[in-house]
């Protein structure tokens, strides 16, 4: 034996193995351990799924009670036929896990504030997000909802079967079969639980009903005088075309919320707060839905359309499927993470949702006796708070312990989200703010889907959707018997005017929510005279509705949809496709003539003139390739900056600019709009001055865009579908798609129509749909992004409601048989 070379080589070999087993930092980013990651038998090569993969299988699970046949079609959409309903949920869980396990788990990690566990602590924002989730009470809300869900025998059985199906798949996993992302990040899946399903639903609640501007509005209120504040943040929009048409009579008001006597001095005369949130749900989490009655369609059958706008991610938040059981037969988009069909149709009717978007998240300033937060002042006495101690595990570092005080406000225990240890990443404040969020309340949202999946008529639909508390949704409905309906459903706090717009005093009962709007006062429409129902997140009702609904609602998509539907007759499915993907810009139609009239063309140089000509020749459509659309969008943004810059120059940093509709309506009402004057100059500016100055700024920006070849609207906007880990290599960037925030086709940069669906309820249902993604969440599958290009092009797939007897149809590519 040659000792020295032996030892040297042994050390080199061991060193190599150890180095290849470590997650090294490369270019500041943690890379996967190369040894196992590159091993063809363990690592990512195993995820390089054959393009000819055979998905057929015969699987046996003792958890099943009967047989389940799954027919996978050419788009990898499963058609699940189960002898027993709960077996269908078992198989749904199995398939969700088979194709989407990583995303399901990742979303529940995010919801429960556990991202640090898998992503580590190198980016401090991750811990901040984790703390935010926990302090907002996401887990608290999920636990309460789970209790409610498990009280209901039907929901409990469905969830148990679903969970069992997910776990049945997880148990088959070996290191080599783990989804790619686990290998990239270096961890393994946990067992699924019903709590994870509840957490996923809270994740959606946060996205849809978690938005608030309370701190920003508080600061704006403290800075501007009352008259300016009303002008900048009006509660009324002149051009509003509400979901429930103007002039509708409403039920008599039964809950009478009263503003406390101290409101004027204590609340509306508020001081600024130096607190900021780190991450907020997208303000434009909007959506469109509408249904037209048979008298407006060519076929004589109603048509329902829905396109929920959500963050555009890989893998998609939706997974398409059909579930057929002896009790019901439903097709549509499901949430990986929850049982049932969420947006879809059955043999009798179709259903779809848009976000209600009301403010159901309010803050109360709490007075603690001392820094221990053990006692808080409420109704004149010191009361005991409770604590929730959170241990946040951080990969590669020691645990972070966070303690959150809970105080009882009225009947509700609320987390004191912001305190001396946490003010959302900004400088510390001495104040304590508890959050009262509707999503903390126990409710069973899964019940509505279980009931909708089997709904046969309007009364079934009504009985189903009234179970929806949070996130409140505008629920559209159409039925083969010709009925159409919409309900602005939710359990909404009955507020006095201005309640919850700003942070509120939390030392007594006077500022608490005084009750919920009774369900029989929730506005709805059933077979309206005009022959259609629609919603696009606009304010649901006009000023005749007795309850206060807040200030901020998107305006323009709703106007376009209602105008177009009013004018249309003899409607076909193709008309609906064209409408759902329409890029017409209603805001531009309204405001552009005024802007062009005020543009001082004599002051423009050659470049600016060129852009002005583009704008004048523009067809008001945000289409692919449109340069005029880019000019308008950049111009409009610059105009808002030019007009408001001076007024907000000295405002608290954390504030909010007026909504776009406020500026547009302000200018249209009065071209001598108060804020066009620049208060920091001695002379008096006019609208023409501002418009021209803004256009000059626009031209500079456009020159830059043009130099980068990004003058066309789709290139400028650069819509992308991002992988949940934000890895560009696993994302699809720069998609050729038009549209934008004020278009029906609301495709923005990272946000847009997440599932387009059109269902014509003729004798033989005709349904079309598409989502930006693919059925297989594995980036190594050819089904990972199958639908993306078609989606961007505004195309649809026929949705096949398969029936027994069609097993031999050529669309069936693979069969999975599940049995005991």
């Amino acid at each position: 034996m040659r000792i020295v070379p032996f030892l040297v080589c042994a050390v080199v070999t061991t060193g190599l193995v150890i180095a290849l087993n470590m997650r090294l930092k490369i270019g500041g980013k943690e890379a996967p351990a190369f040894g196992s990651f590159l091993s063809p038998q363990h690592g990512f090569w195993q995820n390089a799924e054959s393009v000819n993969t055979d998905y057929s299988a015969d699987l046996k699970f003792p958890q099943l009670n009967g047989k389940v046949n799954v027919y996978l079609d050419e788009r990898l959409v499963p058609h699940i036929f189960a002898e027993q309903e709960n077996d269908a949920y078992f198989v749904q869980g199995y398939l969700h896990a088979r194709f989407r396990l990583w995303q399901m788990e990742f979303q529940t990690y995010a919801a429960s504030g556990r991202l640090s566990e898998i992503l580590g602590g190198s980016d401090p924002r991750i811990l901040d997000v984790d703390r935010m989730m926990r302090r907002l009470g996401m887990v608290y809300g999920a636990e309460r909802s789970l209790e409610e869900m498990e009280k209901d025998g039907v929901t409990k059985k469905a969830c148990d079967a679903y969970t069992s199906g997910v776990n049945a798949y997880i148990e088959t996993l070996t290191e080599s079969k783990l989804p790619l992302e686990y290998k990239l990040l270096g961890y393994a899946p946990e067992k699924w639980t019903n709590l994870k399903t509840a957490l996923f639903l809270k994740y959606m609640s946060l996205d849809l009903a978690g938005h608030d501007d309370d701190f920003e509005m508080t600061n704006a209120k403290s800075f501007f005088n009352a008259e300016d504040f009303e002008k900048l943040y009006p509660a009324i929009q002149d051009s509003l075309d509400p979901i429930i048409p103007r002039g509708t009579a409403f039920a008599e008001q039964k809950v009478m919320p009263k503003a406390p006597a101290s409101a004027d001095s204590l609340y509306f005369n508020i001081k600024p707060v130096p607190v900021k949130e780190t991450q907020k749900p997208d303000r434009e989490n909007g959506s469109n839905n509408w249904a037209v009655s048979g008298k407006k369609t060519k076929s004589g059958a109603p048509i329902l359309c829905n396109d929920p706008h959500l963050g555009l991610n890989f893998p998609s938040v939706w997974y398409e499927l059909q579930i057929s059981t002896p009790a019901f037969n439903a097709y549509g988009a499901s949430f990986p993470g929850a049982p049932g069909v969420i947006i879809g149709f059955n043999d009798s009717c179709a259903f779809g949702f848009t976000n209600g978007g009301r403010d159901v998240r309010d803050y109360y300033e709490i007075k603690f006796k001392d820094d221990t937060r053990r006692e808080y002042l409420f109704n004149g006495e010191w009361r005991q708070s409770k604590f929730r101690i959170d241990t946040i595990k951080i990969k590669g570092r020691k645990d972070f312990i966070d303690s959150v005080a809970y105080v009882q406000l009225g009947n509700d225990w609320c987390p004191v989200m912001y305190d001396k240890t946490y003010s959302g990443g900004r400088n510390n404040s001495d104040k304590y703010y508890a959050v009262r969020w509707k999503a903390h309340d126990a409710s069973n949202e899964l019940k509505i889907f279980s009931m909708l999946n089997r709904a046969k008529n309007y009364s079934d639909y009504q009985a189903a959707v009234t179970n929806l508390h949070t996130p409140g949704q505008n629920c559209a409905f159409a039925c083969k018997n010709g009925d159409i309906a919409i309900r602005t459903q939710g359990e909404w706090p009955a507020k006095w005017k201005g309640q919850g717009d700003f942070v509120m005093p939390g030392t007594d009962t006077s500022y608490l929510w005084q009750g919920m709007i009774p369900q029989d006062e929730v506005p709805f429409q059933y077979n309206p005279e005009r022959g259609f129902i629609s919603s696009a997140n606009q304010k649901p009702v006009d000023e005749a509705y007795p309850y206060y609904l807040g200030r901020n609602y998107p305006l323009y998509r709703g106007i376009t949809i209602n105008k177009r539907l009013t004018a249309m007759n003899g409607i076909t499915v193709d008309d609906m496709k064209a409408l759902q993907t329409d890029n017409y810009n209603m805001l531009a139609q309204m405001i552009l003539p005024l802007l062009l009239k005020n543009l001082k063309e004599g002051d423009l140089n050659a470049d600016e003139k060129k852009y002005a000509d583009l704008l004048k020749g523009w067809d008001l459509r945000n289409d692919v390739g449109s340069k005029g659309a880019t000019v308008f969008e950049v111009f409009w943004k610059n105009l808002a900056d030019t007009i408001y810059e001076d007024e907000y120059a000295k405002a608290p940093k954390l504030t909010i600019l007026p909504f776009e509709s406020t500026l547009a309506e302000g200018l249209l009402k009065d071209s001598a709009y108060k804020y066009v004057d620049n208060i920091s100059t001695p002379q008096k500016e006019t609208l023409a001055d501002d418009v021209t100055a803004a256009f000059k700024k626009t031209s500079v920006e456009l020159n830059k865009a043009s130099a980068n070849g990004k003058l066309e609207w789709d290139k400028y906007k650069a819509t992308m579908i991002r992988h949940l880990l934000r890895i560009p290599g696993l994302s699809r960037l720069n998609l050729p798609i038009g549209g934008g925030v004020h278009n029906i086709n609301a495709a923005k940069d990272v946000h847009g129509p997440s599932w387009r669906m059109i269902v014509q309820l003729s004798a033989q249902t005709e349904a079309w749909g598409i989502y930006p993604g693919g059925q297989n969440g594995n980036p190594g599958s050819k089904f990972y992004d199958t639908f993306v290009d078609q989606w961007a092009a505004g195309k649809y797939y026929p949705l096949w409601m398969m029936t027994r007897g069609e097993e031999k149809d050529k669309r069936v590519k693979w069969v999975m048989n599940f049995s005991k």
Partner: protein, 114 residues
């Protein structure tokens, strides 16, 4: 002859070991084969290197081809490696080096001085 027998045994047993054991079992296999079938150190290194270079390179090429290189292109982009063939080459090289050095170590266990 020894070279070819060692090469085939190393590749085959590495494949078998990786069905049940972690990836670094290739080092153990290469070490053992080199220790059991004595060769001069240079030949031993080549045996281990070539066996695993071909095994991992071949397997990853086969997996990637069936996949139309969909995933390899994405991972190459994620890791900042030019293209899928370079990624296959990197995979083969890593395995070759580990097995080569392991075999070299094994050969020194048996090699006589002088």
């Amino acid at each position: 002859m020894k070279f070819f027998v060692s090469l085939i045994l190393t590749a085959f047993l590495s494949f078998a070991a990786c069905l049940y054991l972690p990836w670094w079992s290739i080092a153990i296999v290469a070490f053992l084969i080199a220790a059991l079938i004595p060769q001069r150190p240079g030949w031993a290194f080549l045996t281990g290197f070539i066996a695993l270079f071909l095994l991992w390179g071949g397997m990853s090429f086969w997996l990637s081809s069936r996949n139309d290189h969909i995933l390899a292109q994405k991972i190459a982009a994620v890791l900042g490696i030019g293209n899928s063939y370079l990624l296959i080459a990197l995979t083969a090289l890593i395995a070759g080096l580990v097995a080569g050095f392991a075999a070299l170590t094994g050969s020194f266990l048996r090699a006589r001085k002088g």
